[in-house]
């Protein structure tokens, strides 16, 4: 029952080859096997959104996938947002507008916003609110998160 499988996964552009148990959740694989601890584990049933990553370019809950399913796939985590040590405009906006307090939900907020802003370059605040509702934050009351995403949208559109 504890058979292990060899998988090859590209994470933030880097290929990794590992052996995993079939029941290994993708989020635990990222955190414990690859030591990419930016992705957080919250509720483990898809509600809180803290573990949101991009799986083959689409946002997904990494607590609701098994690592074996990522064999041959491309994953992007929060560690893949900044390039050459320079923060992504979304990260800068969250910093500038205080879009985080304790930071636990932040990787989920950023990855969710990243997918959203790539598909909607000119979002309304209503759309941002709806998108962010898929990630639970218990600190900020969301106001600063919404301000951050709106500011990031403006910044990204200007480029």
């Amino acid at each position: 029952m504890t058979e292990r499988r060899r998988i090859v996964v590209k994470v933030n552009g880097m290929p990794y080859e590992r052996e995993v148990e079939a029941r290994r959740l993708l989020v635990d694989f990222l955190r414990d096997d690859l030591e990419l601890i930016g992705t957080h584990v919250g509720c483990e049933h898809g509600i809180c959104g803290a573990c949101t990553i991009l799986f083959n370019g689409r946002a997904a809950r990494s607590c609701l996938m098994f690592a074996v399913q990522a064999d041959g796939a491309e994953v992007m985590t929060i560690e893949g947002l900044a390039e050459d040590g320079k923060l992504h405009p979304i990260q800068e906006a969250f910093q500038e507008h205080h879009g985080l307090q304790c930071g636990f939900c932040t990787p989920g907020m950023l990855m969710t916003s990243y997918e959203f802003l790539n598909e909607n370059s000119d979002p309304s605040e209503e759309e941002v609110r709806k998108t962010i509702s898929g990630v639970l934050c218990r600190c900020t009351g969301y106001k600063q998160v919404i301000d951050s995403v709106m500011a990031a949208a403006a910044e990204m559109k200007g480029k």
Partner: protein, 291 residues
């Protein structure tokens, strides 16, 4: 928590999947989008011995039009339904219903087949398929069969699929021009399961007469249900506010609500009345092929 150990298979064809189901039967679960199954496994409410991951069966991921219906592969992601120009044009109520499912990250993975087979009576896809009179094509060791919603949904989280059968395709009629439609629901927060969900289709004749009305409710019984008495109130009539009032009352009578964490039985019944009326008003303001 973490899921208990299981044996994992990832077949590439429906035939291989059925062979595995035949071999392991009740010990096996099919893993499609995993948005319902994996939470159940993480909580250890379910501990399947064998997982058959069908995500590699690419043949099950399609949306196509054939004559007067759409054929949708069971592995089609909810997000793909939502974004499909074809579905939006031919069956806009399906796009509206699916947009209520969870959040984008959930819909990116969740599949139409998985949602239907999971058969949660509060979820949107079973309700809208019931309203559309969609058909489920299932394949098993001895061939295939087609099931209507009333045959397919048996009770809470239970369908009439045999342990060795797999849902492969959903057939949905394209809606005639001028069909009026709506999907409305009451939920505590965006993305939550519906306390009450209502799908409404009004097939119209010349002169604004409703030839046939279909109203399906989710969240108010052990399966999605059709509010037949309410439909009869509207059929053959020019729809007025008074008729909408009456239809809502009839629909509330049809519910078999039970109290749960989210709502008392009385509240659900009352909300069924309110949301059927709201759904009818909204349907009248929306025309397929119009603005």
């Amino acid at each position: 928590m973490k899921p208990s150990a299981f044996e994992y298979f990832a077949p590439h064809t429906v035939k291989e999947a059925v062979e595995l189901l035949e071999k392991y039967e009740d010990e096996a679960k099919i893993l499609a989008g995993g948005q319902s199954l994996v939470p159940i496994m993480n909580f250890r409410l379910g501990r399947p011995e064998v997982l058959i991951d069908i995500n590699n069966i690419k043949d099950l991921d399609y949306i196509k039009e054939e004559e007067d219906h759409l054929l949708i592969g069971a592995l089609t992601r909810e997000r793909d339904l939502e974004l499909s120009p074809l579905v939006k044009e031919k069956c806009p109520i399906l796009v509206e219903a699916v947009s209520f499912v969870g959040h984008v990250a959930i819909r990116n993975r969740g599949t139409i087949g998985g949602s239907l087979v999971h058969a949660d009576p509060s979820s949107e896809l079973p309700t809208v398929i019931c309203c559309l009179e969609g058909e489920m094509r299932v394949v098993g060791p001895s061939g295939e069969r087609t099931l209507e919603p009333e045959e397919f949904f048996l009770t809470y989280l239970t369908t009439s699929l045999e342990p060795s059968e797999i849902l492969v395709e959903i057939k949905i009629p394209t809606l005639p021009q001028n069909t009026r439609w709506s999907f409305v629901e009451l939920s505590r927060r965006v993305g939550d399961f519906a306390v009450v969900g209502v799908a409404t289709l009004l097939f119209m004749e010349e002169g604004g007469v409703c030839k046939e009305a279909r109203i399906a409710l989710g969240g108010v019984a052990s399966t999605p249900i059709r509010a037949e008495e309410a439909e009869e109130v509207l059929a053959g009539q020019k729809i007025t506010d008074a008729l909408i009032e009456k239809a809502g009352e009839e629909a509330a009578e049809a519910t078999e609500t039970e109290p749960d964490y989210h709502a008392s039985a009385e509240y659900r019944k009352e909300m069924a009345r309110v949301f059927v009326q709201k759904g009818l008003h909204e349907a009248l303001s929306r025309v397929k092929g119009g603005k």
